[in-house]
Subunit: 352 residues, 2 copies
């Protein structure tokens, strides 16, 4: 449980921050930059800096915390700071934070001077098991998540379990949704292990196995032409709910909370469209409802949700395209869903 | 003289627009978009549309003409129009215009939904022999040219000689500078052919040969780790002069005019640093000065020019890195230049 290999880059686990210091030393970088937000600047940066005592050729770039920062304005801010700090093509950007930091920092780095090196040091459970692996970078525009971005691999990923200790329970649950998804789409045994584990504090082993599943899928299909689409399970409806909540709620859903609701809806779609058994539908529903609060949806939201779904990157020729389960542990991609089917799956969620 | 092959994409010459129509038909695109500016919208789009009579699944996106449009604001405008027009991942962007259109359109397409297909239909001599080939996309930020961008290949390039007929003489000269450069860095016989040609109206054969030279260099080194840097000959100082002019002159230099001045300065640097003969220095100076007006530089500009050069992407660890000639037709890359050497080469230009 030491290291995984993705396409061209390693993912380190044990003593990750020591390995990061070694990586920088070995990399012949002119200088490096650490991208943080207010939270990781306070809670995670001190631990990282302990490991960077031998270096003085770096600067910090701090942005506001939250999905609202994942836009082109903050990206321009990062580009300008890199210019002002004199970053050249031999510079390295270290993304210390959650998915916003890795998506935004990855996009800024992949486009600065046509691409400088970057690495991820994911500090939330969600970013450890999801955003940090896969080579997707992205920012939001016009309330559409990740509509702008690139496929660019980090040079390495450093997963430090220690960072999870200070994470609020709600943030743990947010990452857990992706872990549950990994079990549902690819590994029924892992799903069962998760069900019987202490999910308030997922062990380093569980984190490792989730990354392993995602890593295998990404290696098999880096640019999402086929099997990688299975990672979108729960996200067709879940992303729409997340966007909706971000636009309407004072205290919006976390990514995982939205995906949890999306996975229930899409389990129902799976039952209706490709034969997921009712027993398994109930099992999925029960596990997820036992972990996550129910989101206060109503029928008046449906059309807004649908219009958001219509803008999903994964659509083909204007038709909504979902990845569904034919059983727990097995996913089938490219299921075209009608408006009625989607509404019926939302009805199911409302009925719970 | 029909077609060249770059890494993964073809460059078409004869009957280029007919071939473009065939390309779209064969491509299974959901819809396509034509990016133009005011000038190409007026002078080039009509000819293109004659070849697109069979299609109705496209929209136009028009931006202001000129380098001032090559920024993130116009890029955001293109992204938003693609969203509003309902562009999906199976969409195609056709960049109809000069270097601004291909650089900006290429960047917008390469980052929209993490990359949609795009092709170039270059309409200026400069973009036909330079920007359209090589897979560089880019926008300017903080007055630094192409500081933001990606390495992304177009799906094809269509070079229509007809478009050059309506081009003003100054625009022909702008492209010619890159053609002269191709001779200087890689092909002494071509340099001699150019010297004895009618350079007010470069023939399709001369254009073809320039593209061929650039294409060979790009294929040998797509990401500019080595030999591709030879294409930067004239650009270390030339880019700085271009930026300076853009910031200070009401009627700024064209790219080629700036590069012409840069090539003279860097020929002088070549003579001082790596042994270009004085005869060849004089020959280069004479040919270029015979074609281009002398730019009104003075010693007060030097520090500003130097500070611009310090921000050049091609620098390594803060040192200015130029590609120079050891003789006509042969380039040597990675020459570190001091402030004094650069000033001496500007002195040479001033003395002419």
């Amino acid at each position: 449980m030491n290291k995984l290999q993705n396409i061209g880059y390693p993912i380190y686990f044990n003593n990750a921050l020591t390995k990061l210091a070694g990586f920088i030393k070995g990399g012949d970088y002119s200088r490096f930059f650490i991208l943080t937000d207010e939270n990781t600047g306070k809670h995670c940066l001190p631990l990282l800096r302990e490991h960077l005592k031998d270096f003085d050729n770096y600067d910090l770039i701090e942005i506001n915390a939250g999905e609202e920062s994942k836009n082109i304005d903050f990206c321009i801010g990062i580009w300008k700071m890199l210019i002002d700090f004199g970053a050249d093509r031999q510079s390295l950007l270290i993304n210390l934070g959650g998915g916003v930091i890795s998506d935004l920092g990855g996009f800024a780095a992949s486009t600065f001077k046509r691409g400088i090196d970057f690495v991820h040091v994911p500090t939330t459970l969600l970013s450890q098991v999801d955003a940090s692996v896969g080579g997707k970078t992205g920012i939001d525009l016009e309330n559409i998540k990740n509509i702008i971005g690139t496929f660019t691999q980090p040079k390495a990923v450093f997963i430090e379990h220690e960072f999870l200790q200070s994470l609020p329970p709600r943030q743990i649950l947010s990452g857990l949704a992706e872990m549950l998804k990994h079990g549902l789409i690819a590994d029924a045994a892992y799903w069962n292990r998760l069900r019987s584990s202490n999910l308030q504090k997922p062990s380093a082993e569980l984190v490792y196995h989730s990354v392993e599943i995602k890593n295998d899928v990404v290696i098999a299909d880096p640019t999402e032409k086929g099997i990688r689409k299975s990672l979108n399970y729960g996200h067709t409806i879940g992303h729409a709910i997340e966007t909706y909540s971000l636009m309407n709620d004072e205290n919006p859903l976390t990514h995982g909370e939205a995906i949890a609701a999306g996975m229930i809806c899409e389990a129902k779609l799976s039952a209706v469209k490709i034969g997921l058994s009712n027993d398994e539908l109930e099992e999925i529903t029960e596990v997820i409802m036992g972990l996550y609060p129910k989101y206060n949806l109503n029928k008046d939201c449906y059309e807004t949700l649908y219009s958001i779904m219509l803008k999903d990157k994964k659509n083909q020729k204007g038709r909504i395209n979902a990845s569904l389960l034919n059983r727990i542990g097995q996913c089938r991609i490219d299921n075209i869903c009608t408006e009625e089917e989607l509404y019926a799956s939302l009805d199911y969620y409302l009925s719970l």
